[in-house]
């Protein structure tokens, strides 16, 4: 096969995102990461839910599924468990994954299913035109909370660490290089990897803007010296400061890898069971066990 470039991973469909939407960056980084890994497009499956962010797989070449709001993970599990030979990437949004989809997160993570989850966190519902999402800061205005939301936001990083994800990182849509590196690592990681991409929505979220993040980011690996990526407690510790900058104008938002360990994947365990149980060639034999036993 000829060497593929990022462009070879893009479909003919043109994104309908607003100008300046962070999701363009995520699309670019994904295509680059796939190109750097020289993945066979026919063996990469992108799965998404519903949202501006969840449109992303439609702009990728390969096999892609734009499914239902909050259900990308379930569909992706079906693909991966039945076809472990495929690379399966979930593209999702903060509402898709942490609001309506929140029931699936613990279970995909604790089973360490070998998926890559890329969440475009714009801290708002974009597609439905401005409602607060679970990652919105307190006080953010949304069409259903015109008085400023009174809800405390979720912490996606701490959540996924708690649930047992084996690769957890955060990156930023304004930093193509960092994003590409992280997404590449996440795809390569064996087991459940979760990448939270801070992806601004200039149309509806005026707080979490490029301008704001310009001088609010710190690289936890490079700058804060978080290098032992197998240290769970340390990872948790850093994660707990995830949203400090919501309250403290001097606090920074983190990018970098929080946690990365190798553990048996779900598929590894399945193989063990299959080896133990054995194979039966004949369907007839499986039916014939229902005959009165010969004695």
């Amino acid at each position: 096969m000829a060497v593929l470039t990022a462009k070879d991973y893009r479909s003919e469909v043109e994104p309908t995102w607003c100008p300046g939407c962070g999701d363009f960056g995520v699309l670019n980084a994904t295509a680059r990461a796939l190109a750097e890994l020289q993945k066979d497009p026919a063996k990469v499956v992108g799965v998404s839910g519903i949202g501006c962010s969840s449109r992303l797989p439609l702009f990728l070449k390969g096999y892609n599924a734009h499914t239902l709001h909050g259900r990308a993970i379930t569909f992706a599990i079906g693909v991966k468990v039945s076809r472990p030979d495929l690379d399966v990437i979930v593209f999702t949004g903060d509402g898709d994954m942490f609001s309506i989809g929140s029931g699936h997160n613990p279970h995909v993570a604790r089973r360490n299913i070998d998926l890559t989850i890329i969440m475009m966190d714009n801290k708002v519902y974009g597609l439905t035109k401005n409602q607060v999402s679970p990652t919105s800061r307190e006080g953010q205005y949304g069409s259903l909370t015109p008085y400023g939301t009174i809800d405390h936001p979720v912490n996606p990083i701490q959540y996924m660490l708690t649930f047992g994800a084996t690769y957890v990182a955060q990156t930023y849509a304004g930093n193509l290089k960092h994003m590409t590196k992280i997404i590449k690592e996440a795809i390569e990681h064996k087991g459940l990897s979760f990448v939270n991409v801070i992806s601004p929505c200039p149309t509806f979220n005026k707080l979490d803007s490029y301008k704001f993040y310009k001088d609010h980011l710190v690289d936890i690996n490079e700058e804060l010296g978080h290098t032992d990526l197998t240290d769970y407690k340390k990872a948790m510790d850093i994660a707990m400061h995830w949203a400090d900058y919501y309250h403290d104008p001097n606090a920074k938002a983190h990018i970098g890898v929080y946690y990365k360990v190798e553990k048996p994947t779900y598929h590894d365990m399945v193989e063990q069971v299959k080896a133990k149980v054995g194979h039966e060639e004949s369907i007839q034999k499986l039916i014939d066990v229902c005959k009165p036993k010969a004695i």
């Binding site: 063996k43 499956v45 096999y63 259900r71 693909v79 039945s82 039916i287 229902c290």
Partner: protein
Amino acid sequence: MANKGFDLVIKVGGEGGEGVITAGDFLTETAARAGYWAVNYKSYPAEIKGGYAQSTVRISDDRVFSTGDSFDILCAFNGEAVEKNMVFLKRAKEENKPKVLVYDSTDYQPEEELENVIYYPVPLSELAKDVMKAYITKNIIALGALSELFGIPEQSIKDAIKAKFMRKGEKIVEMNYKAFDLGRQYVRENLQKKDPYKFPEPKEPQDVVIMEGNQAIAKGSIAAGVKFYAAYPITPATTVGNHIVMDLIKRGGWLYQAEDEIASLGMALGASFAGQKSMTATSGPGISLMSEFISMAGGTELPIVIVDVQRGGPSTGMPTKHEQSDLFICAFGGHGDFPRAILATTTVEDNFYLAVEAFNLAEKYQIPVFLMTDGALAIRSEVFPAPKVEQRPDGKVVVKGNIPYGVDEIEVVDRWVYNAEEDKEGQFRSETGRFLRYKTDTPTGITPMGIPGDPHAMHAITGLERTENSDPRFTPEIRVKQMNKRFRKLQTLLREDADRYYKDMRIDSDNADVAIISWGLTASIAREAAQRLREMGYTVNEFYPRLLWPVKAEVFEEFASKAKRVIVPETNYHGQFAFILRATTNLKDLISYVAYRGEAFIPKEIVDFAKMAIEKDIKKGWFTPSDVYGTVVGAI
């Protein structure tokens, strides 16, 4: 014991955990080993532990499909079993056929002797505790007593006992033989036979299987080649998974216990998209939760089999009870208009074959297919001719056997996968070479699927309306063409496949006194009612379609035209199938006859209603057994 041959109903009742259900299973297997047919209707307690359980086994020369109106013999493991069945015992008087009561006389003595009931006290518990020193053998002692009393072939029972206990070792087998002999001996020494019921001689056993309903679905699905099963436990569907899990692993597949039903169907659809035959099984509440994904499966054209083992609704309803009230949600649940098909099973044997058919329809038409069955069928077991699964030289798998709805064999269908080699002319490629997953102008509406891994069939799926190459687009032209494509598949189904599910039809007269259309378990009861009506001198036409949706109107219209009245018995409130028939055919004068008490009909109720309809010249309307008897009646 009908005049046409051997036909006996034995009911065993008592406290759950005392081996009541096992006793029924032994009787069933004994029948099979002795060359007879049997159906065994089980009723588990609502409680997790303890509570009242019973097993009703009907054994016969000819195959029968219901457990009849009532029992001939009741073997009561305790007083509660007698009390629960008192209403039936009392009927012995009017029914001029004697009933037999074999009961554990250790702590119980009937208060009065009922007319036409023959009593055989056997101190089952006492014998188990005092003689066998093993209370657990109570049910085997009972089997011994029954064997001696009614001539149930000793060797056949002993073989059944051995088959069950073999793997626990010779000692256990011996102990159970001893218990069995003890039961026989007690009867021989203490009781005098006073009843007319007698097993005939054992015959050469036939090549049969014994399966429970949910097991038959599991086995049928395996025969169809299922590779992925997503489960979330729910009564009474859970055991489909219990039965399939190991088979699936042995066949290279996998059962995934999901976190909920939404996830189950999502996973199953993911596996289907990835190229696997895929399924899930649930009951009403699960179907509700799956509604959004069902709509997506229909809209994105993903093959999927959804087994609905119905229970009493609405809401949590009556989880352990029989009902057929999910037809509406299966036919109309999920938002928007999309194609789907519904198959419904009438017996355990149906469960096996229709599971294969469900996969065939799903894979051929790339639609969600519901396989509807219910909780009573789920746990009922049946003796039926062993199915055969053969691989033809061309690689095709064929399922054969005594396919109850009248087809000779079922060829297992694999989906139409795009093959770039064969599509040299680019019929399924756009001008720029893109794969046309949703080409609109095929005559059948069906288009080949692309399976991940194939570089020539890459595409996206989306629940949004879309172009032929699957880009989201909402113009009226594209929309209308895609809708027409999707529904053209159902027209094809009606043309090419519907008839095979309409063969279970019997026309006795072009102007019959009564015609019956029925579905699900009720059909197997209606069948017996029809036979009895015939014996009473009425002309009766019968139709038991296995395909409930879509509806080929002309078949129903023609069938109905040959009778003075058409009764549609079913166990739900609305008369759901009759409703659908009224909407989709030109038939107005259908008579809905419904029961919604959480129990199946008994044949007699259908017979009595049919007689009433004939006598009062009823042609249409909505009736329940209360209209016949003036009061609510229970059947079990």
